[in-house]
Symmetry: C4
Subunit: 247 residues, 4 copies
């Protein structure tokens, strides 16, 4: 029995979608044993929902816990949460336009956080990157740490680096991808990883020559269909999880 | 029940082959949630057939819609089509020799559309690339757009870039691969992706030294067996889909 | 019913091993719809055995055809053979020490046939490469062709390039890997591909600096355990096919 | 029936965990037909346990053999062991803090043993690399060999190269990853491979510019949560094996 029922009742379908998002990200190689996805509570913007600390591929709807924006579990009996849930809470605080956040260490993205090469939008599915991808270096403000965004202050610093972007890299750690909806945040996390692989290839071909990436204006225009026709990808991924789990 | 029955009756087997082609391309990593394959109507060269807007891995024969070359659905009740079906219609208009078109964003190919390195034929299975691979940059004629080939004018511009080639790259977007038959177009889409991976490796090894790629003459000669003995690959791929779907 | 029964009766187990070798190579990504493996007839050194023209993943023991060293089917009713079976026949003629040959276009190996970087042995499992890996360029002797080794003359030229090596690259085409036994030839084909991936990484790290590859002497010493303890890999791969096919 | 029962009775669960570790490493691509994992006997620090010579994907609990630190099987009737078990015995002798050792040829790691580029910690999960990763070149002390660490003297030389590090590379061969527990050694072997892939990408992006890798101090701090919260990865991997094998 779920002892972490959201205070405002969420539809079972939305809870299942959030649990499925964890498994989708695992199936696409964006998360492995680590990483997490959350969504802002649809009926209470000062709350968010995410799985208890658990490998994403194992999450079921009953694992979802409700947090306030200080990243405290609303229900004291809730299962142990992720150490880095503060990433989510602080982004929701700073960015009212954001409805969902993915944190991952997807392997093609990490290199862009340690090499001084800017991530660019290599194709229209990654259009959301064309506004620029900031890099958050936790050591600038906090010195030598265990690299984890494990409290509100570190979460705030990350949210500040993120600014108005959709994706921020975290030096020697990973990245966050955000969007207005769960579907869009998952889409962006997946295509940030795909884009990183493409840019690696492109950079290797081009050497020091510039890449004919999407311009900022093209990026704004091309991100619109990603959020409508682009839902076709979510439909595919969601169907795969449903056929595996039954929910 | 299929409400989009072709006006001239296609054999069930050919419809199944076209639907299978979508799944083959998904299984080979050429398409993901996006991308599409079409074939010219075998009994009416002014029509073409392709799936409704749907992730390629999910396509079944009943999803096939018939279009005129202006990319209007022949049957008004047809399901919603792909935004970029104009790619197909305009190539069929411009190229009577073409019987099938694949559009994809296969990840190893995209880099060649943003880096100024020509794609070359690295091995005989990619012989069709040896005549040259043009790059279509939508911004040259249309300025900043959402990158999509979403009307006849943009489709025509792409078809013009393609010229007499078998494959054209689309800057910061993807590519098209064409052939006289469905089987050959699918083969070319698959081996364009394989060739891109090989050229990436080869380029990385060779640096600025030239690659001993197929010459244009070798390409012409080597593409002949690809279209006969090469059908063995289609037979394998088709069998995989049949054993998965029953059709 | 098999209409291509070897003239000298092969044990069913050896026929199954040869058919399994095709599937092993497909499962390891060494062959795709194309490529083939043969073995010298164990009781008649002037004959060899290989599958009829068929995608390697689909081969069953009944697909095995017997050839003389001129690559003519011994039984006139035999099914159509591979266009490039002459690779095998001519290597068996030139190299009495060879008992099995694999021909493939494995994707990480092809780049070494078009870039002027020598393949080296990156680790002990690829020790057989340390004696040098010649590159056969079909155009040197035959001008512009379809790149296929489709007759005895071309097969002889390839065998001459191979010399006393275990592996030869074929420019803009693929490679051959040979060994005294079926198990060793398959092992070498697999680890040639693995070695190519490793060398690509190593080359990319090292730039123009030399790699601390196996020396020729180390290669000779290290290839000995590959042919004894190394059979453990065959046992694993063979078991996988057995559990899939029942033979 | 297991004829190699540990002299001091191990719990069935721990034996199963050790057998599962072999399969986990195979499933993650760290080992293929070759490679091995051992653990120090929990009740007798002068003994260690590892599978008989067998492909890691096939290991079952009954395959576990008990060795003394000279790498002699404790039970004379034990099945044939790995030629390179001396790697394990000599590391246990030299490093009382080590409870488990993995030896592998994981393909992204091998390049760092032949190219003169230092492996660095690209992200917090690979924090254990931030203290430095020594390279053991067997030829320095032993001249041309078959590259195998097949006796105590070679094992001692490797252990000496390892020093106080968690991971050592072996030139033109592979690597060892060590940890206080089985779970941590497996974690380190997996993330050494992931880190190598990331560093390859990062190096390719950065060229000769330095990478913003974890500092030694960050590495010490970040390796702590890897050994607590990081167990979540083991739980996922172990569950996968359990659902496959029933143990």
């Amino acid at each position: 029995m779920n002892t972490q029922l959201p205070s405002v009742l969420m539809s079972a379908e939305r809870m299942a979608d959030l649990a499925a998002a964890s498994r989708i990200l695992a199936a696409r190689g964006v998360v492995d044993g680590f990483g997490h996805v959350s969504m802002r509570h649809p009926d209470n913007p000062n709350r968010y929902l995410m799985s208890r600390a658990l490998a994403p591929a194992l999450v079921v709807p009953d694992d979802i816990v409700e947090y306030d924006l200080g990243s405290n579990a609303v229900h004291p009996a809730s299962a142990k949460g992720f150490l880095e849930r503060f990433i989510h809470g602080e982004i929701y605080k700073a960015r009212p336009d954001i409805g969902s956040v993915v944190h991952s260490h997807s392997p093609s993205v990490v290199p862009f956080g340690v090499a001084s090469v800017k991530m660019q939008a290599m194709f229209h599915n990654a259009a959301f990157l064309a506004q620029g991808v900031p890099v958050f270096d936790i050591s600038e403000q906090f010195g030598a740490t265990d690299m984890l965004v494990c409290d509100c202050a570190k979460g705030q610093a990350l949210a500040q680096s993120l600014g108005s972007a959709s994706v921020a890299l975290m030096r020697a750690h990973g990245s966050v991808a955000c969007g207005p909806t769960l579907q869009t945040a998952v889409f962006r996390a997946v295509y940030t990883e795909v884009n990183a692989r493409i840019q690696h290839f492109a950079h290797s071909l081009a050497g020091t020559a510039p890449l004919a990436a999407l311009s900022a204006e093209e990026g704004l225009l091309a991100d619109v269909p990603n959020q409508t026709a682009g839902l076709r990808a979510w439909d595919l991924w969601r169907a795969e999880i449903r056929s595996e789990t039954g929910w």
